[in-house]
C-alpha cells in the first residue's frame, strides 16, 4: 500500500516538474480585460531587517488599502518568536485584528486584475527549492505583459522587475498563496462572492462586529441575494438586539433561497425575539 502511495506522490512531483509556467502562458495568450502594463506608483517601500519581510509586506498592503499601521505594530502581531518569520495564518489574523478584509487571490490572471484595479497583492513565495524552502513575502505592485515581467516591492528593493515565469515558479512552490487587503464595504475586482464571505466571516468571528457589518453590506451591494451576507448581517443585527432588522434581512434571504433551512430557522428565531 505504501509503495502505491509513494508511486502516486512521485507521479505528482513529476507532473509538477513537467508543467512549467502554465499560468504565465495562459495569461500571455489571453490576458483578462486589463491594460498590457500597469505600475502602481506612490506605494512606499518599507525597509526591514532579515526575517521581517512578513510584517513589512503586510504593512505595504495595509497602508495601500488605507489603514494607518506601522511595521513595528504589525511585527508584534505576526512574528513568531523563535521561528524567524511569520505564518500565513498569523498574517490573515493580523489583517482581521486591524479591522480589514483579507481576500484570497488564487491565480495569475486574478493577481494581474487586482493590480490593474489599483491594489497591490501580497504574495508568499518559496525562493529556494521544494525540499529546501526559503520562504518570502512580497507585494506585487505592477506588471508588464509585453516584457513578460512582474514588478514587486520585494525585500529592500522597490519596483523590482522579475520574469513572470520565475515568479510563477516561486509562487507555485508556495502553493499560489496570495491576498489583497480591502476595507470592509469594498469588493475586490477579481474575487468571487465566497472569497469575500470568508473574509467577512473572519471579521465577524474576530468580534469586529461593526467592520463585519460593513463587509456584509459591501457584499450585498455587489451580490444583493448573497445568502451568506444576508445571514451574517442578520446575525450581527441580532447580536446588537436589532431584531426587526434581522427579520427583514432573513425574509429577503428565505425568499431568495427557499431551500435554505438555516435562513428559515434564523428567521423564526428572530421573529420570536421581535415578539418578546
Amino acid at each position: 500500500m505504501k509503495k502505491f502511495l509513494l508511486a502516486g506522490w512521485l507521479t505528482l512531483q513529476i507532473a509538477a516538474c513537467a508543467s512549467p509556467a502554465r499560468q504565465t502562458e495562459q495569461l500571455l495568450s489571453g490576458p483578462p480585460g486589463v491594460p498590457p502594463a500597469h505600475v502602481l506608483t506612490g506605494i512606499p517601500l518599507i525597509k526591514h531587517e532579515a526575517g521581517y519581510c512578513g510584517p513589512a509586506a503586510l504593512t505595504i498592503a495595509m497602508q495601500a488599502a488605507g489603514k494607518e499601521v506601522t511595521a513595528a505594530d504589525l511585527a508584534a502581531q505576526v512574528i513568531t518568536p523563535g521561528g524567524a518569520g511569520s505564518l500565513q495564518m498569523d498574517m490573515i489574523s493580523a489583517v482581521r485584528r486591524n479591522g480589514m478584509m483579507a481576500v484570497a487571490v488564487e491565480n495569475l490572471n486574478q493577481l494581474v486584475e487586482e493590480v490593474a484595479s489599483g491594489r497591490p497583492v501580497l504574495v508568499f513565495q518559496n525562493l529556494g527549492l521544494s525540499w529546501l524552502p526559503r520562504w518570502h513575502y512580497a507585494d506585487v505592485v505592477g506588471y508588464d505583459l509585453p516584457r513578460q515581467e512582474i514588478i514587486m516591492h520585494s525585500g529592500n528593493e522597490a519596483y523590482r522587475r522579475e520574469p513572470l515565469r520565475y515568479f510563477e515558479r516561486s509562487w507555485g512552490l508556495a502553493d499560489f498563496w496570495a491576498l489583497v487587503i480591502i476595507k470592509p464595504g469594498e469588493v475586490a475586482q477579481s474575487a468571487d462572492e465566497l472569497a469575500h464571505l470568508k473574509a467577512a466571516l473572519g471579521l465577524e468571528q474576530a468580534k469586529m462586529l461593526s467592520e463585519a457589518a460593513f463587509a456584509y453590506d459591501g457584499i450585498l451591494r455587489r451580490w444583493p441575494e448573497s445568502l451568506g451576507a444576508l445571514v451574517g448581517r442578520a446575525n450581527i443585527a441580532y447580536q446588537k438586539t436589532e431584531y426587526q432588522t434581522a427579520v427583514n434581512l432573513l425574509r429577503v434571504a428565505s425568499k431568495a433561497h427557499p431551500d435554505s433551512i438555516i435562513a428559515r430557522h434564523n428567521l423564526a428565531v428572530a421573529e420570536q425575539a421581535v415578539l418578546k
Binding site: S19, Q23, F176, V231, Y238, I262, N266, A268, A273
Partner: protein, 125 residues
C-alpha cells in the same frame, strides 16, 4: 478520610440531584432557540461550490474521452466522486482549480485519478 454522617447524606442527595437531569429541566423553560452561526452557511456554500465545480468538470467531453482512452469508466469515477466526503470534495476541487489553469486536460486527469486512488487506498489501509 471520612465525612461526618449528616454531611455525607447531604452530599449524597446533592450528587443524586446533579446526576439526574433535573437541574437542566428546571432551566429548560428559559432556553431560547439560538441563531445558527454564519459560518454554517458559508461552509455549506463552499461545499456546494466545490461540488458544482467537480460535477461540471466531470461532464466535460474531452475529460471523459481522456478517461475512456485510459480504460477508466467515467460512470465509475462519477459514482466514486459521489461518495467523497466534504473535505475530500473540497481538496479535489482545489486540485482541479490548480490543474485546470492552462486548460491542460491530461494534467487534471492525472490529478483526479491520483486523488481518487489515494483517497480510496487510504481508506482501506
Amino acid at each position: 478520610m471520612q465525612l461526618p454522617k449528616p454531611l455525607r447524606i447531604y452530599v449524597a442527595i446533592f450528587m443524586a440531584a446533579i446526576m439526574t437531569n433535573l437541574p437542566y429541566m428546571a432551566f429548560a423553560a428559559e432556553v431560547v432557540p439560538a441563531m445558527i452561526p454564519t459560518s454554517a452557511v458559508v461552509e455549506q456554500m463552499s461545499v456546494s461550490q466545490a461540488r458544482a465545480k467537480v460535477e461540471s468538470f466531470m461532464k466535460r467531453e474531452d475529460f471523459r474521452a481522456e478517461l475512456i482512452k485510459r480504460g477508466v469508466n467515467p460512470e465509475e469515477v462519477t459514482s466514486r466522486m459521489a461518495s467523497l466526503n466534504e473535505q475530500e470534495l473540497r481538496q479535489l476541487a482545489t486540485q482541479m482549480d490548480k490543474a485546470q489553469y492552462g486548460g491542460d486536460v491530461t494534467g487534471i486527469l492525472i490529478v483526479v485519478v491520483l486523488v481518487l486512488l489515494i483517497i480510496f487506498l487510504a481508506r482501506r489501509i
